[in-house]
């Protein structure tokens, strides 16, 4: 894991530069295992920065959330760079945004963290439901060491890791200006086990599975807002004229919403799993994303967000592209 002093020193250096506005990273959250996004404008604020196996958030969403109020008379646009701490999957989202020209490369300074996996907050909360005081979590080999009330507890990594991390093929950020520590090489392979199991099921069973999940949806759109790649100026679900999706919360509209969200990320989703983490209703959203990711890999041998020189999937055409997808 990352040397936090090195991280803070790097951030301090960045925020002291004239061409950097602020740096986005992580700081200790308010209780238990919470870690929260942090914005450092000054070297003092950089002191708050941490990096631990609890740093699950994909902070690249904040690049797309930056608000630019209309300029006043005589005021000039602030074109200074924004700094960002990224893990492997977060970096893929950044690459994807850059490929789509959603951002300019020169507007960013990227601090890469070679990632050895992060903890799923839902899994750790189940194990320690009453933890209020912040907990120090370190990684030691195949274990996490948690210091709770002065006592150390060792838990196998596998029990707490996000499922996505268990198959991660790109743990070292594919894009970065600074890399903190040594590259982490992955020998893992995404095998889509869960997807393959679901694919084999009968249509009726699949429908039952998904309708039960979508029935829970309250349409809070946390999945959309937490996603760095959901950055349309006006989301289809908010559009009123024409209104593609009704506001009624029922199986039909919820299904449309959840499928549209997944399809709009086809060939774009970097697999960070933030949608599922943010979903208060435990809808297995990464399964939808992974199914589409798997199909695209099979059909076009394409993986999103790994090569800055490449065009986005839906913006390119190869003469030997399969035509199976055309109805």
């Amino acid at each position: 894991m990352v040397n936090e002093k090195q991280l803070r020193d790097e951030v301090k250096k960045l925020v002291s530069r004239d061409d950097v506005k602020y740096v986005i990273g992580y700081e200790q959250g308010t209780y238990g295992f919470q870690v929260t996004p942090s914005f450092a404008f000054t070297p003092e604020e950089a002191e708050r920065f941490i990096f631990s196996p609890l740093c699950a958030n994909n902070l690249s969403v904040y690049l797309m959330l930056e608000e630019k109020p209309p300029l006043r008379k005589g005021e000039k646009e602030d074109t200074r760079k924004v700094g960002l701490v990224v893990k492997g999957c977060d970096a893929r989202a950044v690459v994807q945004i850059l490929q789509e020209k959603g951002l300019k490369r020169e507007s960013l300074v990227i601090i890469g963290v070679p990632c050895t996996g992060v903890i799923d907050p839902k899994k750790i909360t189940v194990k320690f439901p009453h933890q209020i005081k912040p907990v120090d979590v370190r990684e030691e080999g195949n274990h996490y060491v948690l210091t709770i009330n002065g006592k150390n507890q060792k838990i196998p990594k596998d029990e707490l890791l996000f499922e996505k991390c268990k198959q991660c093929e790109y743990p070292t950020p594919v894009i970065h200006d600074v890399l903190l520590g040594d590259e982490v090489k992955s020998t893992k392979k995404e095998e889509y086990k869960e997807i393959k199991t679901l694919e084999k099921k009968a249509l009726k069973e699949k429908w039952e599975f998904w309708s039960k999940a979508f029935d829970r949806c309250i349409r809070c759109y946390a999945c959309r807002n937490v996603c760095p790649l959901c950055y349309c100026k006006e989301c289809i679900v908010d559009q009123l004229s024409p209104q593609w999706i009704y506001r009624s919360v029922n199986r039909s509209e919820n299904t449309v919403w959840n499928l549209i969200r997944a399809y709009h990320l086809a060939g774009r989703c970097s697999g960070c799993g933030e949608c599922e983490r943010a979903c208060p209703m435990n809808i297995p959203l990464t399964m939808l994303n992974k199914k589409i990711e798997k199909d695209i890999k099979e059909l076009f041998q394409y993986v999103a967000g790994v090569n800055l020189e490449e065009k986005p999937l839906l913006a390119m055409f190869k003469p030997n592209d399969t035509e199976d997808t055309i109805l």
Binding site: T30, T36, S38, N57, E67, I218, C220, A222, P280
Partner: protein
């Protein structure tokens, strides 16, 4: 207040006895989450739960409510939606959630009597269950609540070991027990003491508190820090999703829309969220709350300043749902505590 004892093994019998007359909404576990759902037999419910993910306000104030339906074309007809006359029991509701209904009642009663909400509210009997094991983000005691308070409930059950201590707090509550009286025995002083002990233990288990000395003074203080840069620092990390508002037991904003097909349609009312830019977007394109800072601040002010001014109540019960479910750890306990420290 009348106090009784109901043996735990008699609870299923009690539920079975009232099931023919009432639709019973009770905590039901699904995918590691608990929802209030209609049950047909006691075994469907779970009483080992902290709180439901969606507050039981949803039983009175439906997320989607059809106000009326209509036909289009030559023969236009408007058909009012029939209001349900079913009698319901919300079983196992927590004292904080019961309080939330009392808090939002004025919204649906004061200027205009809202038949959709009020019909269900009047037809509902709230049978509460004391919160013996508050969760990490419970802070009802910061807002004059108690995990075992019968206030705002018709009946409160408290688990005191092998039996429930039953407090009847309203006429409705008395009537419900009256019909099934044979299952209940009068509570003794020892039982009352046990309940007090259980309550004290639960209160002590609530360790996260808003650190503001005086709630009323804090309400006034907010008037002086409206323009503080503090709100911007909080809002920077807000994603602008609606999880906090939809899962809040006192949030009550709605939108009204017509949903139509070629020849028919319905006017529906759906939950709305002030965290979304469209919430305040004018037809002209102007938005009086253009930035996330305006919206985050509004959520706090609505609960802790505007609502107390309009209805003499803080519109927060301390259930902790917004804290539990915020993807970026915007924590109302922390937000309020730190707002208390902001210099005017």
């Amino acid at each position: 207040m009348e106090k009784y004892i109901l043996l735990k093994n008699k609870l299923p019998e009690w539920i079975n006895m009232i099931t023919p007359t009432y639709t019973i909404f009770a905590p039901v576990k699904e995918e590691d989450l608990v929802f209030f759902k209609p049950i047909t037999k006691p075994s469907e419910m779970t009483l080992a739960y902290s709180n439901a993910i969606v507050p039981p306000k949803a039983q009175m104030f439906h997320q989607t409510e059809t106000m009326f339906t209509f036909t289009q074309g030559k023969n236009i007809r408007v058909n009012p939606a029939s209001l349900p006359d079913e009698k319901i029991v919300v079983f196992g509701i927590r004292p904080c959630d019961a309080k939330s209904l009392s808090i939002i009642d004025p919204v649906f009663t004061n200027d205009f009597e809202d038949p959709y909400y009020l019909t269900k509210r009047k037809n509902a009997i709230l049978v509460g269950l004391s919160c013996n094991q508050p969760t990490v983000n419970c802070f009802c005691t910061s807002l004059n609540g108690s995990p075992a308070s019968p206030e705002h409930l018709d009946i409160l059950l408290t688990d005191i070991g092998d039996k429930y201590y039953v407090e009847l707090n309203s006429e409705k509550g008395k009537q419900l027990v009256e019909k099934t009286k044979k299952l209940f025995t009068p509570a003794t002083d020892a039982d009352s003491k046990k309940k007090k002990d259980v309550e004290k233990k639960a209160v002590d288990a609530i360790t996260r508190q808003m650190k503001i000395n005086n709630v009323d003074a804090f309400v006034k203080k907010l008037d002086t820090i409206f323009d503080a840069p503090y709100w911007k620092t909080i809002a920077m990390k807000c994603l602008g999703c609606g999880a906090c508002t939809y899962l809040c037991p006192t949030c009550h904003c709605f939108d009204i829309q017509d949903e139509t097909t070629l020849d028919k349609g319905a006017r529906i009312r759906v939950w709305d969220s002030c965290m979304r830019p469209e919430y305040t977007l004018h037809a002209s394109g102007h938005n009086p709350r253009p930035e996330r800072m305006n919206r985050v601040r509004n959520r706090v002010y609505h609960k802790y300043n505007y609502y107390p001014k309009n209805h003499q109540m803080i519109a927060c019960v301390g259930c902790g749902r917004c804290i539990d479910n915020c993807p970026v750890n915007i924590d109302i306990i922390d937000v309020i505590t730190k707002a208390g420290e902001v210099k005017p």
